[in-house]
Symmetry: C2
Amino acid sequence: MSERSTIRRNRGYRWDGVSKLEYKTQGSHFDRITRQTLLGGSEEESEGSAVTRYFEIAPGGHSTLERHEHTHMVVVVRGSGSMILGEETHDLRFLDAVYIAPRTFHQFHATGDEPFGFLCVVDRERDRPQLPQDSDLETLRRNPEVARLLKT
Amino acid sequence: MSERSTIRRNRGYRWDGVSKLEYKTQGSHFDRITRQTLLGGSEEESEGSAVTRYFEIAPGGHSTLERHEHTHMVVVVRGSGSMILGEETHDLRFLDAVYIAPRTFHQFHATGDEPFGFLCVVDRERDRPQLPQDSDLETLRRNPEVARLLKT
């Protein structure tokens, strides 16, 4: 029986032994968002192919508008928000689940009074995100709902 | 932008387009547990390496005591429970996170008055679970807490 199995207890959306990090270390195309790698992120937990992270966006904040080849599996666990998913917008609430397919632009926004938190599962091996080009933004903004929500 | 990105809304711990299934189709070493594959389970969602499932155990029920080579990343999202993890027992509450390393025996129990629900991420390609041998049970039962909780 392995000694490497681990329980990480939730203490107010912080977990034992898990660092709360900046969402990204570079750029300014995001706002009021933090990242915690809950499970699968260390060398001791690298037998599986995926990593489970927890992102939290403070009211009024948002993630980067981006796309990539790798997929996201997202499950909301705190507060409520909205997202851009391709050319559409969607409101998100507790335990709503989102599959973000390859090459789909996406951006999360905290729209309520409390922080908006979600789990996001990705493959450990993955490509770097791409920011939208001007032509991509033009396409996305054709939908007025997307245009209203979108932040760059 | 892909058309295959999908939002699945939570409606009382059921999700749009997701079937609520028996936990396993064979055996009797589990009780009052259901399985829903939330994300990554279909051919249309197979670009990533992992699958996100939601398991729910009704009060008094339990999962199979088993181990396997693949890992589990578990996050509790409903109710409370207890688990056997290797030779120890642990209580679990909302958003507690568990990394189950390869070859670690584990079993979940719903200990409260409401259903105990958790997300469980696994690799799509994975080995079949193994049940404990008599010698394994003997080892596990050396801890009285494990002996008390364990169901076969």
